[in-house]
């Protein structure tokens, strides 16, 4: 009797033998977030890169299902960034972070992925804001500000320590800007026929020491 075991049969049977639920990406059934960026169906331009998809699939807190990753919406124009629903119901601003040093120890560093997440209610209320230092030190004069604001907000104002106010255009609920010593973000929302100004503090790295406190031994 000849036994021809095709590779596909082997893989199928092997998958059947593997334990169920290995912590891999799972399918979510949560409704789409109410942020306007999710109103239109995703297009090819919204698709996250392979590297970002891999990073999201590996994310531990929060977790992203394959459906979540497919639901991503591209939001930042100058910088790779997406709004992605998470399996726990949060909404995350996911963006690519380029290394602050071209190489370290002879090795070239590839880009990383950072994400700031908040419950949808928070994203629709006070929004999400994140500062990314652009230096490798512990004192960042310049920071990239990325954030999410509620629906119908067209512009945010970023105020610096020196009092300079910079307007950033909101596209699909998100904005970005590179600012010297940012201290606050403000935006105006309509609520119940009235205008309210939200002000959110922004912090950047401005450490007093180059070494960690309570420096541990290694």
């Amino acid at each position: 009797v000849h036994t021809n075991i095709t590779p596909s049969a082997l893989v199928t049977a092997a998958l059947a033998c593997l334990p169920v639920g290995c912590g891999q990406a799972h399918e979510a059934t949560l409704p789409a977030p109410r942020l306007a960026a999710f109103d239109a169906p995703p297009t090819a331009e919204d698709r996250v890169s392979h590297e970002v998809a891999t990073a999201l699939a590996q994310s531990l807190r929060p977790e992203f299902s394959s459906q979540d990753i497919r639901a991503a919406r591209r939001v930042l124009l100058d910088h790779p960034g997406w709004l992605v629903p998470a399996a726990n119901g949060e909404v995350c601003l996911v963006h690519v972070v380029y290394p602050t040093v071209s190489e370290l120890g002879g090795a070239t560093l590839p880009p990383a992925t950072a994400h700031a997440c908040a419950p949808e209610s928070a994203a629709l209320g006070e929004g999400i804001v994140e500062s990314q230092s652009l230096t490798s030190g512990t004192y960042a004069r310049t920071a990239r500000i990325v954030g999410v604001v509620p629906n119908d907000v067209g512009t945010v104002t970023i105020t610096s320590r020196a009092g300079v106010r910079t307007a950033a255009t909101v596209i699909r609920n998100a904005y970005e800007a590179v600012i010297q010593e940012p201290v606050a973000i403000s935006f105006v929302v309509h609520r119940h026929g009235r205008l309210y100004t939200h002000v959110v503090g922004v912090r950047v790295v401005h450490a007093r020491s180059r070494s960690p406190v309570d420096r541990p031994t290694y």
């Binding site: 009797v1 000849h2 036994t3 021809n4 075991i5 082997l10 049977a13 092997a14 059947a16 033998c17 593997l18 334990p19 290995c22 990073a55 999201l56 590996q58 994310s59 531990l60 807190r61 929060p62 949060e90 972070v97 290394p99 602050t100 040093v101 370290l104 120890g105 560093l109 990383a112 992925t113 950072a114 994400h115 700031a116 997440c117 908040a118 928070a122 999400i128 804001v129 994140e130 500062s131 990314q132 230092s133 230096t135 490798s136 030190g137 512990t138 503090g201 922004v202 912090r203 950047v204 790295v205 401005h206 450490a207 020491s209 180059r210 070494s211 960690p212 406190v213 420096r215 541990p216």
Partner: protein
């Protein structure tokens, strides 16, 4: 003829056995990989304003870190590496009011948390993954 159903049954049995052997090998590989993985779960107390601290675990294959702090303001997190006599943040620091996490290529480093506020952060939880 009954030889055809019998051959099919033998094929199925052998395929299943071979596949299960593959699955066992995969399982062993996964177990070995898991044995090398390390979750560095740590907490910090009373981190003064404008100061930073590290987990204390400096090792190769750091690829994920995140922090949740007891503060109504911001907290910063980032991977740091030794460089010369000091430290560098090869991807900078990310600061936010919400849950901040990183996912980056494998590096030798340590997860670090910075308090960007004037006041002390009384308590924070941070998590890093290696391997």
């Amino acid at each position: 003829m009954s030889i055809v159903p019998g051959a099919v049954a033998v094929r199925r049995t052998l395929a299943t056995l071979a596949a299960c052997a593959v699955a066992l090998l995969l399982g062993a590989a996964l177990a070995a990989a898991s044995a090398n993985a390390l979750a560095d779960n740590w907490v910090g107390r009373s981190l003064p304003g404008y100061q930073w601290t590290g987990s204390g675990y400096y090792a190769a294959n750091l690829w994920w870190e995140g922090v949740e702090a007891e503060t109504s303001s911001s907290v910063c997190v980032g991977p740091v590496q030794k460089s010369g006599g000091g430290w560098v943040a090869p991807y900078g620091w990310t600061c936010g009011r919400t849950s901040i996490t990183w996912n980056h290529p494998l590096i030798t480093g340590m997860a670090a948390v910075y308090n960007p506020n004037p006041g002390t952060i009384p308590y924070f939880k941070a998590l890093a993954y290696y391997g």
